[in-house]
Amino acid sequence: MTCKKSESGKTKKVIVVGNGMVGYKFCEKLRAKAGPDRLEITVYGEEPRPAYDRVHLSEYFNGKGSEDLMMAPRSWYEENEITLHMSQLVTHIDRENRCILTHKGNRDLYDKLILATGSRAFVPPIKGTEKEGVFVYRTIEDLQAIEQYGRKCKRAAVLGGGLLGLEAAKALMDMGLKASVIEFIPRLMPRQLDKNGAAILQHKLEKLGLEVYTGRQTEEITGNGSVKSLRFSDKTDLDVDMLVISAGIRPRDELAKACGLKTGERGGIIVDDCLKTSDENIYAIGESALHQNMIYGLVAPGYEMAEVAASQIVRERDKTFTGFDMSTKLKLIGVDVASFGNPFTKDHGIPIVYEDKLKGIYKKIVVSDDGKKLLGGMLVGDAESYNSLHQRFLNDIDCPENPEVLVLGARGDAAEGDGVENLPDEAQICSCENVSKGDIVGLIEDNELTELGEIRNETKACTGCGGCTPLVKDLLNHTLERLGKSVKKTLCEHFEYTRQELYSIIKVQNITTFDDLLDEYGKGDGCEVCKPAVASILASAWNDLVIKQDTIQDTNDRFLANIQRGGTYSVIPRVPGGEITPDKLIVIGEIAKKYGLYTKITGGQRIDMLGARVDQLPDIWQELVEAGFESGHAYGKALRTVKSCVGSTWCRYGLHDSVSFALRLEKRYRGLRAPHKLKGGVSGCIRECAEARGKDFGIIATEKGWNLYVGGNGGSKPQHAMLLASDIDEETCIRYLDRYLMFYIKTAEPLNRTSTWINKMDGGLDYLKTVIVDDSLGIGAGLEEEMQKLVDAYRCEWKEVVDNTDLQKKFRHFVNSDEPDPSLKFRDYRGQKVPDGWGS
């Protein structure tokens, strides 16, 4: 191939090969150091999409789409003037002419070249790996293929019992498969755990339903075309329908090798402390780089390499890479496991071990011979102290006089010197983004930040592996407390309580009116913030008629209709599941015509009649109630609609009757008041015509039952609902929904949708799952009972008004005249009326 040499001397153009996590981070860092006027950046990535968060890849199975996993959207590259070529494999490097060639035949010249080609899953040379049903676990495409193939399987195995293998096994279990893990070495997680720690972990995993085979050598994958079984060296067989190989990684150094760069004997592109390869103009970073005989298979060291290489290129020459800590915490599997430093120190250091076989807890730390320094450790079953131990190790903080308190916990008080407040300012809190304690505290002090989200945005801490989130939270709360700022989310100046506390007070003290609550627990007269919030709690707690305490309700709840421009109201009767008869449609048409109302189909599968005067509302509703309609609660922070698709009764793809289920749910939860409005959806198959995953709860039919998703949201910050449980039957689904909705009602802050509530929750969806599905707090039955009471107490608010002349009196404009408001003005608009602007 022939290329023209670019002018030597100043770096003008940087080409990055590989758009993975580290390649992306490099672009971000380099662009921050040098704008488009200084440097041209071009990236080639083999994968069909921009870089995504591989660390959280497994969340793809929990309903995170490929969009959610994206490190940055396509537009980010455009905004930063970085040219991104996706689906292009770089096949050659012409070092002499400083030129690369891609499989599409494109050539491109560089001044500096960055190899961020990552690694590939290692597939051991076993007979039969080419068979159908054998997968690796590395890319979104791998997961898509596993998900698809898994649908027709019952039993699956993972080859490899390391960090990744266990994560993959958990994913297989979540797919509803019977899963086994096979490890060649006689214990699980051999790189992080010793024999005793691994034994405890294995025991716990077996209790969770995972089959574990250690010390097994797999000789052959048998089957005619597709996998049937694994044959071990002892000639025993394990029947499986699917196999995921997770036997380690191999750096992708093929490109480097082909152009003559120095590579390691066992793979990896050799780099020096500046991350330079054996070619002056080529750097290697991330999982493909071999530094001092070491491949770093974690993201944090990769990010540090990205920082060093970027600073080398813009000639901030002081920065070098000198190795990195390999501490890790296992995520997702449901058992705490963590290790830091070197927990295997045999010839120097003294181990201190705490083991509780009954509870399945194993903690081991290794301290220096003089007992002063922490050298490493491992935690199984309870990794609460991981962050503080890890910080102590990283920052070389002296151990307390009796170092055993570090694993045993001090008798009486908490172990001294453990909290964030005792860390030095230089202590690194987020290792992925290299953020120190001082950075975070400074921001809180100087910029008056009070929310975790703000700190994430400013520093990017918690955005990598997420492991530092609890530490950052602690640090935030601590600093705020020290600054004398209240951390508590009280309602307003009239109540020194959070919504959750008020909910408990109201329930326990049996309080039914705002006035009683204010007398006993508040001060002043209340205001437009606490009144509706308390009104909503009272309604959630007792499901009494809101209109009885009308003056503490927001105007929509006070008049049981949505106020519109000009001061008229809209009327939306409930149309459960969106199913409606022609007769009922005719009634709506006739009423709208009679009262001169503007009509529109809403986005919630029902019909809105707008422009009703306050004094007309009871009459309109009288006619609607007589025709069998009920209030649609379009005005309330309450259940709105449960949207449905046409489902299996008509649709040729439908698996189950989504309309009947939506109807059943809408009828069950109609009128349910909550911290914010609630919406649901039920789709008859994966095509998802009901947009159920855009709702607070969404249900999608599967071959085996229903999948239940929670926490979805449209609005200004759309978010897809996440999988809570799969393949459950209707009754289980309703049980989980009862628990979920009641738990939300009891614990959310005012005006937080379910999505916000879950996003803010410590432990997020995983925690919610343990509460709802595993009933880890033991409150499941109580929540169901409370919900049943609310369901039983339901009455149609409008029917009550229509039947009660006293209540009807509240619906008039003047108290001393029957005249309607003379200031209302309408104009004609496409054959209907609309308000004439914003009033006079």
Binding site: I563, G567, K810, F814, V815, N816, S823
Partner: protein
């Protein structure tokens, strides 16, 4: 006690009988019509006080304030407009969110269970 300014206003007012106390909700308001004027009158039960102001919200010119929620801000009695929750002092009519517009307020008295609103004579 009422301020001198208020007493002066009371003294000069011409009183109109507008409604019976029973016509009012607790801690809430109603709208009354006096010729072409619409006035919001509030029964501030928790303070044992009555207040009146123009029914028109000056933010977007909506005839609505009688349907607003009442309460206090640091002890100042106020009403919040149902549309965009702008709040106004019921004593001075001043906007409490620091914006320019303000309300006209009127004196109120109760005699023999009847509510009277005073208009400038």
């Amino acid at each position: 006690m009422n301020s001198v300014e208020e007493i002066k206003q009371w003294y000069k007012a011409e009183w109109y009988k507008v409604a019976h106390v029973e016509d009012f909700p607790r801690n809430g308001g109603v709208c009354i019509k006096l010729d072409n004027l619409q006035i919001a009158v509030f029964n501030f039960t928790s303070r044992d006080q009555w207040y009146a102001c123009q029914n028109l919200c000056p933010h977007k010119m909506q005839m609505i304030l009688s349907r607003g929620m009442i309460g206090d801000k640091n002890g100042i009695p106020k009403v919040a407009c149902p549309f965009h929750k702008k709040t106004f002092s019921l004593e001075t009519g001043e906007n409490l969110d620091g914006e320019d517009y303000k309300l006209t307020t009127f004196p109120v008295k109760v005699e023999n269970q009847h509510v009277y609103v005073g208009l400038p004579a």
